[in-house]
């Protein structure tokens, strides 16, 4: 029997990738999508040749085993709630929420409803990052001391206008590009963030948006490891790709440089009139979606949890606090 999955909202562009990832898995049936934006629903239903439910309720009435939520960041909570109440397992786009309170609520609701909750952190499935994690666990790299990392990108506004809308996105570059690396480091270290310092500015695209477009977030872990995350939307629109995620990990044996998106061809075409990078590495989204599906089938926790999503949101909230008071902020971790 096939496993039925639905997609709640196409507000986030990753939904476009996830639907194709789902279709590449044997025994998975994409039952359709629902979106509160009718035009968007119509557009993507036609584009992907998939059934369009008129409302979220209608989609959930079709009893999907799981749903993928790709709404605007601030609208995750109500959709998670509906899905959990309908008994559907949830894969929620990152960041899990725009406030710690919402993120906590999301985790609690899913736990009470007994449904699985996974946060969409595809970097946990990136093959270069998995390789480094394996070497680290095998003791080949020594003890980790610090990270110098970046998750820079272009202004995401051209993909979706809401990405730069504080009310819907939660903020700017800090909200968008801090969570992946926080999660990678928590995963590598098995330690939690204890302190956050952050600086931000709005110099890139100053005339186009009101949220911060440049920033660096500094996190310190309970085990002493410290790290910087450059989350800036500093990549110009003519950069060879959307951006990237890379880090230098300093250890007792030296340093390891890791770039999750370096497995590229550099392509020069008359059409584009500038070089672009064509990625030939393994698609981390595919592996992530497969894990979600497999977790449902096996009734086991997915490899990324809702708590992982919450911990990253806690860092984002603390980063904004630090930006406004100009000093490091102690992180108060929510008890679950």
């Amino acid at each position: 029997m096939s496993l039925k999955i639905g997609i709640l909202s196409f507000a986030h562009l990753h939904a476009e990738a996830y639907i194709q990832n789902l279709r590449a898995i044997d025994g998975v049936e994409v039952i359709g999508l629902a979106d509160d934006d009718e035009q968007r629903a119509e557009h993507f239903a036609r584009l992907f040749g998939v059934h369009r439910f008129r409302t979220y309720e209608e989609l959930l009435d079709a009893h999907p085993e799981g749903v993928i939520i790709c709404s605007e960041n601030s609208r995750h909570l109500p959709l998670v709630k509906m899905a959990a109440e309908a008994g559907a397992h949830v894969l929620c786009e990152k960041p899990l929420a725009t406030t710690v309170q919402d993120a906590e609520e999301i985790v609690r609701i899913c736990r009470q409803a007994g449904v699985l909750l996974m946060t969409a952190f595809p970097m946990r499935f990136s093959t270069p990052l998995l390789e480094v994690k394996a070497r680290l666990d095998a003791g080949e790299l020594g003890h980790v001391y610090c990270f110098n990392s970046s998750n820079q990108g272009e202004l995401p506004k051209k993909h979706r206008a809401w990405f730069v809308d504080r009310a819907l996105a939660g903020g700017g570059a800090i909200t968008d590009h801090t969570v992946h690396l926080v999660d990678v480091m928590r995963w590598y270290l098995g330690s939690e963030v204890s302190e956050v310092y952050a600086v931000a500015n709005r110099i890139f695209h100053a005339d186009e948006v009101e949220v911060e477009t440049g920033g660096v977030v500094w996190v310190t872990f309970e085990n002493g490891v410290f790290a910087t995350i450059d989350c800036s939307w500093s990549r110009p629109p003519y950069w060879p790709s959307w951006g990237g995620l890379s880090f230098e990990m300093v250890t007792s044996r030296g340093a390891v440089w890791v770039d999750a998106f370096r497995q590229n061809l550099t392509v020069f075409t008359h059409t584009l009139q500038r070089p672009y990078w064509a990625f030939w590495g393994s698609d981390p989204n595919q592996a992530m979606i497969e894990d979600f599906v497999q977790a449902i089938r096996d009734q086991r926790p997915p490899r990324v949890s809702g708590e992982d999503g919450l911990r990253a949101v806690e860092v984002v909230e603390a980063a904004y606090q630090s930006v406004s008071n100009g000093q490091p902020v102690r992180l108060h971790r929510r008890q679950l």
């Binding site: 610090c146 310092y197 100053a206 440049g214 660096v216 500093s234 007792s252 030296g254 340093a255 100009g326």
Partner: protein, 330 residues
Amino acid sequence: MRVGIAGVGFMGSTHAAAWVETSAQIVGFVAGSPESARPLAQKYGAKVFLDFSSMLDEVDVVDICTPTHLHVPMILEAAARGKHIVCEKPLALTVKDALEAVHACRQAGVHLHVAHVVRFFPEYALAKQIIDQGQIGRIATVRLLRGSYRPKKPVGNWFLDESKSGGILVDLMIHDMDYARWVAGEVESVFARKVSAVYHDSPVDYGLVILKHRNGAISHLAGAWAYPPPTFRTRFEISGDRGMIEFDSQATSPIENLTVKPYAEAPDVGLPSSPVRENPYTAEIKEFYAAITEGKMPRVTAEDAVAAVQIAVAAVQSARSGEVVYLKPL
């Protein structure tokens, strides 16, 4: 013009080679021991002085390439004797000392040039020029990285003595602190941490520094004494509201050497190098020489050197206290 060089380590010998390219005459060298000064003295047909003050008797300019903690006393002595001064970076280990050195030179009417050589590296100088032409617009973020291995013992051991060198944040990272300030303007606050302050017995060291500039720009500086010898790698990425510049010494190296190089052959301290017609140290000494002899304004001033010391000292303080250090205008 007669030059005397104090210190015969890597910098003393590099500066000596650069002075040869000017019309100045190298009169002699002074070092911790006369024996250690002999090879360079022989090479340049110059004298070995037994102490700094006897060297001052016979020169117009002194070039101070000694360990950092010795800079200021030597500057004060040279200035009192009316000698012009070229001094290795960092100028001093405290802001108070740095200011005292500058005031003494000003009062004595002698030149003080501090060797912030990064400004003379062609890739860094060109980036500065492109920024000044407005090609990438207003600067928003500056990322700088400078990485090598820990200075070897015994020659390099003063580098590892923080009371003498200031450690990685001061000795290595002051290069990029000066450069960040050069391209992005005055610094408002500093936040920093380094591995050796958290892990006291770490075999490597690594510093991270965030600078907030008064105009809103953010600089992110990384300094490594963590790579295997003979690695010396620099990178930068400077982004503005109208474009960006990136550089990676490894990616732009015109020669990739895949021959075996034993550790013993690596120099005592890691050095940057890319084959160019005039090495940056020579360009630097020539510019200082022209400043002294012709009164031409050099690209780096003694005041810049004081500002760099202020940032470096704030970084040390921040790494120690865990707090953000806000700078007072000098």
